[in-house]
């Protein structure tokens, strides 16, 4: 093997404070040499290879499962069927939903019925991957196909075929969010803009590394060891523990490098549970590496949402008073993390705007499609997309300039802290200025002239669009009570451990599971500032390990929060460690603590370097020489400092659906310029800018990288990426061959800018960021809208392939319904 080379892009030449600098990443040395440890690179002694047997039908009764031919095949250790798995379990998986949704019984493998294409009915363990795959084909399953429902709105019809008979309905959750007085607003407005239907399509971030795990149910100890790439492993433990009858302290979850996740690696706990039972049955570890089609078909998709009967009251000056809408969230065949999507959107009820009257009638439905779970921008981007569509449609219909209309309705810089109609508190920001910066970066003045010159009928048209979003971060998990008031969840938090090791090494353990967000680097920056040393001399343990005990129930890497919760925990733990070092130093140097300082791994009397003790000396006194310490010091100092950062939340009001649901609101304002070919509908992005305001940036280059990534995934979704099902529930994009993930030729160069509006609510003034709020979907749709004429249909879908743009360009020729009407009071001037 190649020896590990070290990067020269080091940090030695720089000086403190390290926070705020684009310090080189600790992760890169191993990753650029192919020395990362991703899930398929890991395993356990004596492991077998698992392969799931999956349904070709979207909805069918399981008549029989016969594993005998598979068991007779060479190299096969065991086959576990759905019925057998159920017999080994104590209870079905915990459900978040109340009422009908709570009655759903989900087990590790399908029992009696399959409910989407790819639903797992059995799993095989064999001595090689190929033997397992071959044997999986020998498991004989008899299916009796059933009627299929793939439309999220039709699924709510009383006559629709029901997926889960025990629930008796496909409606997993329903509730009305009603703030202000929308009826009054609709009566009082100068104009009411009505939009028939908007549809936010299904897609996923599709991390390049698929899911995977090696699970061992240890025969002797009963310990269940899980090496996986789960991004919220202790959530999985809490879900599957009662089902498997395994207490949390008999689990040992761990992870190392994770090859992207974007929310998509939160909810594959059914697979983990099935592997645990398979291991238990076979008496050896079970290793499973998901393959790409399995991922596309069964891992997870993002929430597909349909908005119906949208009504928007608008005043003559362009003030938008609110919105009334019915929303249907299609979450697929099972409730994985759902129906939390039915409340998460309400972190951003009015989006970036000051509208005060909002009524959303929200229904979560089950369909014969892949279950959804969080996907970058989870649930908020769907809602924000609808709001941004509303802004541009209002502008288009009533003749407002989209820039001026936004600026008129934005929450203004002097309004912060700004309380929204449902009690969320926007912490800080400057949206108008962010928009101006973005318009400048995208060279919109140039493109406006170009648009003017080209007009229409010259083969190409230019369109300019804006996407204004909030990237709400650090959830108050109490919002789950708005879904189900009986849930014992609220608040949030993250843990970290800071310690000196036996020879004085500084080490940080995190409760998080980074997937490219550079937690080792930024944690080291923060710890280095507190200990007054170089981040190069701070080691941050790679990966998550339950055995470190640096976790709480919320631990993981998701929902734009590390800069607040994770770094808050690192700060707290490291400050405790500094205090302990100073206490031991005070004894050793015979000087009061107040006269001591730390410098590059040494504790010294300020101004007198001759009186100093290095960290190795501090560690020696505590770990291997403690008889010299006075008793009170021995009993209080251990140099192992755990801290849990807890944000200041209250329990939301579940009845009125109000409360502060997230701590921080980073903003992202994107501007997109497209050039559309009139003959073909081919749409090319010719200029793109993104301005991020996430408060104080701990590492600006890493922040910029997140902005690029969120922009690229959104652009891909807006133009290229979609999961479609035919009427029989067959997925039409089961691999990267059909699912066109954006390539380097598709994704434009992205101009990025920033503002720093520090959050008054966080320990470091930072805000969580990274998800990005789906801003490109909003901006691309707005740009396409800008290309269309007065008589054309409105852009009503979040996915716009060239074919769809072509249809939009020609919608007026075919007298298609425009999908929008405006009712104005007689006296009102548009």
């Amino acid at each position: 093997m190649t020896a590990t080379a070290t990067s020269t892009a080091g940090t030695r030449e720089r000086t403190a404070p390290w926070s705020g600098q684009s310090v080189a990443r600790k992760e890169d040395g191993r990753l650029v040499q192919g020395q990362g440890s991703f899930i398929d690179d890991l395993g356990m002694h004596g492991q077998g290879y698992a392969w799931f047997v999956r349904s070709p039908h979207a909805h069918a009764r399981i008549v029989s499962v016969d594993p005998s031919r598979a068991l007779a095949a060479e190299g096969v250790y065991a086959v576990l069927t759905g019925e057998e798995a159920k017999q080994m379990c104590e209870v079905p998986f915990f459900q978040i939903a109340p009422g009908a949704g709570a009655r759903i019984e989900e087990w590790p493998l399908a029992v009696d019925k399959v409910r989407y294409q790819g639903d797992a009915v059995a799993v095989v363990l064999a001595d090689t991957r190929d033997a397992a795959r071959d044997a999986a084909e020998l498991v004989d399953v008899d299916y009796e196909p059933l009627a299929v429902v793939v439309d999220g709105v039709a699924a709510a019809d009383p006559g629709a075929v029901v997926l889960h008979e025990e629930a008796g309905t496909n409606v997993a959750w329903h509730g009305t969010y009603d703030y202000g007085d929308i009826d009054w607003a609709l009566e009082s407005a100068d104009h009411v803009v009505r939009i028939d239907r908007l549809h936010f399509h299904r897609f996923s971030s599709t991390p390049l590394e698929c899911n995977g795990a090696t699970v061992n149910w240890d025969r002797g100890s009963g310990m269940v060891e899980v090496k996986s790439n789960l991004q919220m492993p202790m959530f999985a433990a809490m879900v599957i523990g009662p089902t498997l009858g395994v207490p949390i302290n008999k689990f040992s979850f761990s992870s190392r490098d994770i090859g992207g996740a974007f929310g998509n690696k939160i909810a594959f706990y059914p697979q983990i549970a099935a592997l645990a039972l398979l291991s238990r049955k076979a008496g050896r570890p079970a290793k499973w590496t998901e393959y790409r089609t399995e991922h596309m078909m069964t891992s997870t998709h993002g929430n597909e949402r349909t908005f119906l009967d949208i009504e928007v009251p608008v005043m003559g000056d362009g003030s938008i008073l609110g919105v009334k809408v019915r929303a249907y969230d299609d979450v697929g065949a099972y409730l994985h993390y759902e129906p939390l999507g039915a409340v998460i959107w309400s972190q951003v009820v009015p989006g970036c705007y000051k509208m005060k009257h909002v009524r959303v009638d929200f229904t979560t439905t089950l369909t014969n499609k892949c279950p959804v779970s969080p996907n970058r921008g989870y649930s908020r981007m769907q809602h924000l997309w609808m709001l941004e569509r509303i802004i541009d449609i209002v502008a288009h219909e009533l003749g407002f300039d989209p820039v001026e209309l936004r600026k008129r309705n934005y929450v203004q810089p002097e309004d912060y802290p700004y309380e929204t109609p449902n009690g969320c508190v926007y912490d800080s920001g400057d949206l108008p200025r962010s928009l101006d910066i973005a318009l400048g970066l995208a060279q919109v003045d140039f493109w406006r002239r170009r648009k003017q010159e080209l007009g229409t009928g010259k083969g190409k048209r230019v369109g300019i669009g804006i996407g204004s979003t909030l990237d709400s971060g650090t959830n108050n998990f109490g919002q789950a009570r708005i879904i189900n008031p009986d849930l014992p969840f609220s608040g949030n938090g993250e843990a970290a451990l800071a310690k000196l090791d036996l020879y004085g090494e500084v080490n940080i353990n995190l409760g998080t599971t980074p997937q490219g967000q550079s937690h080792e680097t930024t944690s080291a920056q923060v710890a280095a500032d507190i200990l007054n040393m170089s981040p190069e001399d701070v080691t941050v343990t790679v990966g998550f390990d339950q055995a470190h005990n640096s976790f709480v129930g919320f631990s993981g890497t998701y929902a734009s929060q590390f800069a607040v919760t994770g770094l808050g925990a690192v700060m707290g733990a490291t400050e405790k460690l500094r205090d302990q070092i100073l206490e031991v130093g005070s004894f050793a140097l015979e000087a009061p603590k107040e006269e001591l300082e730390l410098s590059s791994g040494t504790c010294m009397v300020r101004g007198d370097p001759s009186r100093s003790i290095p960290f190795i000396g501090i560690a020696n006194l505590v770990y291997t020489n403690n008889a010299v310490l006075p008793p009170e010091l021995r009993s209080t100092v251990d140099l192992n400092c755990r801290y849990v950062y807890v944000p200041p939340f209250a329990v939301p009001d579940a009845e009125h659906k109000t409360g502060n649901l997230t701590l921080t609101y980073a903003s992202q304002i994107h501007v997109c310029v497209v050039e559309v070919d009139e003959e073909t509908g081919a749409t090319e992005i010719v200029s793109y800018a993104a301005v991020d305001d996430c408060g104080n940036r701990v590492n600006p280059r890493i922040v910029e990288g997140q902005v690029h990534g969120a922009a690229a995934l959104g652009i891909g979704a807006a133009l290229y990426e979609t999961f479609d099902y035919d009427e029989e529930g067959q997925l039409e994009q089961p691999s990267f061959y059909e699912y066109h993930a954006g390539t380097a030729l598709d994704i434009p160069d992205i101009q990025s800018g920033y503002l720093e509006s520090p959050s008054p609510f966080t320990p470091n003034g930072a805000k969580g960021m990274g998800e990005g709020g789906g801003a490109p979907l909003h901006a691309v749709c707005a740009a396409i809208q800008d290309v269309l004429g007065k008589d054309d249909a409105v852009v009503s879908d979040s996915h716009n392939s060239s074919e769809r743009v072509y249809e939009l360009l020609h919608s007026a020729d075919h007298h298609r319904a425009r999908g929008v009407t405006v009712v104005s009071r007689p006296s009102a001037d548009a």
Binding site: Q33, L208, D257, R292, Q515, G709
Partner: protein
Amino acid sequence: MTEPSTTHAIEVTINGKIYHREVEARQLLVHFIRDTLDLTGTHIGCDTGSCGACSVILNGKLVKSCMLLAPQADGAVIDTVEGLAADGELAPLQESFAAHHGLQCGYCTPGMLMSATYLLRENPTPTAEEVRRGIKGNLCRCTGYVNIVRSILAVAEANRARLTGTSAEGGQQ
């Protein structure tokens, strides 16, 4: 009649080291590299030749190692990501990816580096457009390619300076 053989004896040179192995006829080259030889830097992101995470350089050509069977590589000379750094020093491209934040999760990075290495061998001073075309077969879901393009262009810039004799910093692949 004897059964047709289902295994082949192959000899492959990877990063300068010669390997002799008996392999199953159906084994993919990428599984041979990863599982048989334990060179796990080469990754798998799809099964359709779409993502490029398994890219290696075989007999001087860039290939996706999930699209070849191991027996087809008999006699081949292959470079993988593990061979890029030499004598404890990172290759200029590796340095540049680190310096320009050209990677986040790092999963596409080995394949991306091999594509970029091949690109710069063929064309030491590509334009941004040529860089984008050169890596179009490699998917990255984290970076939006912006910093990957910057990383490769920085090495191209050093190559250009070296070729025109203005400066000798960095350079090559």
